[in-house]
């Protein structure tokens, strides 16, 4: 039983076998995140926002890698589309929602168009093609000065208020309110994606990952499904990117660079590709590792690199798989010991 029960299809929040413990932990985590502004300073809030944004970015990426079996190395292109799209709108219309929504849609349209071309390939060729399109977007952001501000990027983007005429108007100039905005938007996006991966569509994607030829013989058009997955991943990258300009007040070309595309790859593989929560855990680790190491040395990338090597060599299933296999059974065991017979 053991192994198959624990590794069972992997993709569920933590694996159904563990009963209520994860649900309780999850609720506690969400409550904690909502209380966070009262507990910590601006710096931790700022970091948490980046973790949330990278989580959304990586979850979208993992819809392609872990669920559909496609390795994209150009997600930063769509992230940049979201960021630049949002920034352009905010510079004209200082209102948060139009900016974010336009950013997402802009990225989604790009993903739909480029996805139509990319899904003709799989494996290494898909990775190369996405890398190529990502770099095309980068070169446009870098050189198309009139539109994108060139290598200076777009600056002075306002953290515009959240306004719905006649209904509400919330000032975002302080860090706290924007934190809640990012938290709520990201949690909604994560819940939505959780629904999607556990829907018939999500299962069908996993079938494509496991066997492309077999799934064609269930009457599924593989290309259409891949295109939908690619577009969703693009929308998620776009959302992640669109949350950036109000936070940083600036967007620059490196957002589209391939090294930025490597971030969700790293986060996802660190956390584990065959678990829904893997990318979130990976995003958290990524920033925590960075934050801790930077305190000791400015050369934090060397350590991040070493950790990447160690994890790929020693733990290719990702961190969450260890959590599933060792930690949760251990906690259950402790609970079982403690309970009276």
């Amino acid at each position: 039983m053991g192994k198959s029960m624990i590794e069972r299809k992997g993709i569920s929040l933590f694996g159904r076998a563990y009963g209520k413990i994860p649900t309780v932990l999850l609720l506690a985590l969400i409550v904690f995140l909502f209380l966070l502004p009262h507990l910590v300073g601006k710096y931790v809030m700022y970091m948490t926002m980046h973790i949330l944004i990278l989580s959304v970015f990586s979850l979208g990426f993992n819809l392609l890698l872990g669920y559909t079996g496609l390795l994209s190395f150009g997600q930063a292109g769509f992230y940049a589309c979201g960021a630049y799209g949002c920034a352009k709108i905010l510079l004209v219309i200082p209102s948060l929602l139009p900016g974010i929504i336009c950013g997402i849609l802009f990225a989604g349209v790009f993903a739909l168009i480029l996805g139509f071309l990319c899904i003709r390939h799989t494996r290494i060729y898909f990775a190369m093609l996405t890398l190529c399109f990502g770099m095309m977007i980068y070169s446009l952001a870098w050189k198309w000065r009139t539109m994108t501000g060139g290598d200076d990027g777009l600056i002075g983007i306002p953290r515009a208020p959240l306004e719905i005429p006649g209904i509400l108007s919330i000032d975002m100039s302080g860090m706290g309110n924007y934190y809640y905005f990012v938290l709520i938007v990201c949690l909604l996006a994560i819940m939505l994606l959780y629904r999607i991966v556990n829907s018939p569509f999500g299962l069908t994607l996993q079938g494509i990952r496991d066997s492309e030829s077999r799934i064609a013989f269930t009457g599924i058009s593989v290309k259409n499904y891949r295109l939908i997955a690619f577009t969703i991943a693009g929308l998620y990258a776009g959302l992640a990117g669109a949350l950036i300009p109000p936070l940083e007040n600036t967007v620059t070309p490196p957002l589209a660079h391939w090294t930025h595309s490597a971030e969700p790859v790293m986060a996802t593989l660190l956390g584990g590709i065959y678990t829904f929560s893997g990318p979130i855990a990976g995003a958290f680790l990524f920033y925590v590792i960075k934050d801790i190491i930077v305190r000791f040395t400015e050369y934090w990338l060397i350590w991040l690199g070493a950790i990447v090597l160690a994890l790929v060599m020693g733990l290719p299933g990702g961190v969450v798989s260890i959590f599933q296999r060792r930690l949760i059974p251990w906690i259950r065991l402790q609970f079982a010991k403690g309970s009276p017979r």
Binding site: S4, R8, T204, Q206, A216, G219, I220
Partner: protein
């Protein structure tokens, strides 16, 4: 006899090697047909052409009177053509239940539901349960397909194929690599399914015991062409077939 699938001068070459050489053939409803022939005779290639897994060089294919020559695989499946593969082809990282769920979702046009839970579709669950029980995999529904025994994997692959409820289903060497007990199980299933579900099976098989006990009709292929076609008794007596198989054995002995 109602015609199900018909080809006209179907051909396919790989470089200079002609794998299928202008084959014109007709498959009728409720006739369990076996395609036999020595290795490299073009059996699997023929199936690949009929199901759309490979593009053909020339010729035409008709299914239930309509031309399907240019229609992609997934559309052919929707019209009622299914298959299993010579090399095991299942969804190894999903459970047995999910393996069968995927084709059933597709059949009932539910694959594009983005936001509903999987267990919200009662009729899908019931159908998966029925199929898994029929073939005898219900007890293993929670096991990862990749961890099943070889025989069970073959059985699962057939279940995936029939879950799309094809009228015509190709099985490419359904009993290869199986032990005798597993073999009996799969043959029982084929017989039962052709009766109960009115699925017409076309089987590529090497095991002559299986072929002669199961088939209503046998088609013999050699070097891309059809050299004999008839009832099992006729094929047994056919001089061409004897020569091909005898010739093959002789060649093997010489080598």
């Amino acid at each position: 006899m109602t015609e199900l699938l018909r080809t006209e001068d179907l051909s396919k070459a790989f470089g200079h090697f002609i794998a299928v050489d202008s084959v014109t053939i007709n498959f009728t409803m409720d006739t369990l047909t076996s395609i036999i022939g020595p290795n490299g005779a073009g059996k699997t290639t023929l199936i690949n052409l009929l199901t759309g897994s490979l593009p053909m060089d020339s010729g035409r294919i008709f299914f239930k009177g309509e031309e399907i020559t240019k229609i992609p695989t997934n559309e052919r499946v929707k019209r009622g053509i299914g298959r299993s593969f010579q090399i095991m082809n299942i969804f190894p990282m999903l459970t047995v239940f999910q393996n069968v769920q995927i084709p059933v979702l597709s059949l009932l046009n539910k694959s594009l539901k983005f936001f509903s839970r999987l267990d919200a579709h009662r009729e899908v669950i019931n159908e998966v349960e029925r199929i898994s029980k029929e073939v005898g995999l219900w007890d293993k529904r929670e096991v990862l397909a990749g961890e099943l025994s070889h025989g069970d994997q073959r059985l699962l692959e057939m279940s995936i194929a029939i879950a799309s409820q094809p009228e015509l289903c190709f099985l490419d060497e359904p009993t290869s690599g199986m032990n005798p007990r597993e073999r009996v199980k799969i043959l029982e299933n084929i017989r039962r399914l052709s009766k109960e579900r009115r699925t017409t099976f076309i089987i590529v098989e090497h095991d002559m015991d299986v072929v002669f006990s199961l088939s209503d009709r046998i088609v013999v292929m050699h070097r891309g062409g059809i050299i004999a076609d008839g009832k099992p008794d006729e094929i047994k007596e056919n001089q061409n077939v004897k020569e091909v198989y005898l010739g093959e054995e002789l060649e093997e002995e010489i080598i």
